[in-house]
Symmetry: C2
């Protein structure tokens, strides 16, 4: 999936969001903007949008001298943890806990800048549980979970959202599956790192690895050799979020993508409305 | 008014609009995008957004090898001309033709990409006439029109919109005022040029000059000496559109700005909601 002209305004929206979190200093803001322009100019637009924005966010952090999303990520985790006990009980007590937990994990993918309040969570959870999933390969998913040869690699996406992931990870554990959770090797956007996995209590329930990279999504050549071994050995991959979908959709691997389509470009590519919820089997299975 | 970080996504939205009108060739689109990135990187962000986008649109036309808005402008003129007889009669027959015509001219400033159909015109005209003007210096405006020492210089904005301007220009003529209309010296965005003034029949009712420039708004140092003389000699300036407001708001000159605030940055600066309608006296009068 390559960069579409429509991605450009969005790259700069992301920059504006980072600046709002990052600094009020007008001169520093201008320096960030010039750096972003340089990075996008230099980027290979025939690669995925995630590829271009990886370099963009790296430059933003470098010019700011810090991770602008640190505070917001910790806020996300805190707010989501409030919902955890209730949602966890709800999933465990449901007729098909895997089904409910998978839907909650997709619902959790709504967690993003400016659209994360308790009200949003409740509304999205409601929507996800009503079955409004635009692409629903759940039957396949359940079969694949049961039949996977080897561990299940769970590619986490955002902080906050990772609390919802925990419910699905626990549900997989209750089915006797061994799960390895992968997080980012360094800060990028509001993506979960080891610290966030620990905040959500995930380090206590399963093995957590970092992917050795600060890339948006999972750009395999940028990840560590250690992570790539875990990926290769995994019997099944559960991939969260649009970034991971963008970067892994052409992989020849047993992957299920659980996410919400958050932009026009990806939604068009999928032939689905914006903000669709998906539980989608990889095509090059 | 300087470039705000929030302007950046908008610059690229404008680029996307130009590309949609301009070419379906992916490689040419990429060349345009790289050119735009270069221009914005090079731009002086302490100047107005109109300044940066002047160079941006120049580069877009240069890489495309043509004016991407040529067709859309002629469509705008054609659609607006259909409403002209009805609206013109309506203004002439109203209790205060200048009042009605000024409001119609502000209503016409809605004409922009993707929001220009007959339905939009009717709805906006309705809104403008209901008196929903956020900043209304009409009493001052009427006094200034009556008392202006010298010609009235009318700075046109968009194609299509210029048909609405004609109604106000005729109304000024009926009050015995001499009006000179200024259009752009070359294509830029959907801004009116001599060709559009002719399409709207304005060249037949008054003197029309071009400003010798393809700038967004009116960047005086970029305009021709001939235009600047007309500007200096004018007793009163009627300035249409946000671009002209951005570039002339600090001028020490008798100017009234008639426009709709089309972006968050300008609306915030004005302390008004987005899409506000304004008939605003210049502050450095």
């Amino acid at each position: 999936m390559k960069v579409h002209p429509d991605c450009l305004p969005c790259f700069f929206k992301q920059t504006v969001i980072a600046l709002k979190q990052g600094t009020k200093d007008g001169r520093l803001q201008e320096k960030v903007i010039k750096g972003v322009l340089e990075e996008i100019e230099r980027a290979d637009l025939s690669k995925s949008p995630a590829h271009a924005t990886t370099f963009m966010h790296r430059r933003i952090r470098q010019v700011l001298g810090r991770d602008p999303f640190k505070k917001v990520k910790s806020d996300y985790n805190r707010i989501a943890m409030k919902s955890y006990p209730r949602l966890s009980r709800f999933a465990a007590g449901s007729r098909d806990p895997l089904f409910t937990a998978a839907r909650l994990a997709i619902a959790g993918n709504i967690i993003d800048f400016g659209i994360f309040t308790s009200i949003d969570i409740d509304a999205t959870v409601e929507r996800a549980l009503q079955g409004a999933i635009a692409c629903d390969d759940y039957a396949d998913f359940k079969r694949a979970v049961r039949g996977a040869r080897g561990d299940i690699l769970y590619l986490a996406d955002n902080a906050g959202e990772i609390v919802f992931d925990r419910i699905l990870i626990e549900s997989l554990g209750n089915m006797g599956r061994k799960v390895i959770v992968a997080v980012k090797g360094g800060p990028v956007l509001n993506d979960a790192t080891l610290e966030d996995a620990a905040s959500a209590g995930i380090t206590e329930i399963c093995r957590v690895v970092d992917n050795g990279s600060d890339c948006v999504g999972t750009i395999l050549p940028m990840t560590s050799a250690g992570f790539r071994k875990v990926y290769r050995d995994a019997g099944l991959v559960i991939s969260k979020g649009q970034g991971n979908f963008e970067t892994l959709l052409e992989e020849k691997k047993h992957i299920f993508f659980l996410f919400q389509s958050k932009c026009e470009v990806v939604s068009r590519e999928l032939g689905l409305p914006l903000k669709s919820m998906l539980l989608k089997r990889a095509e090059n299975w």
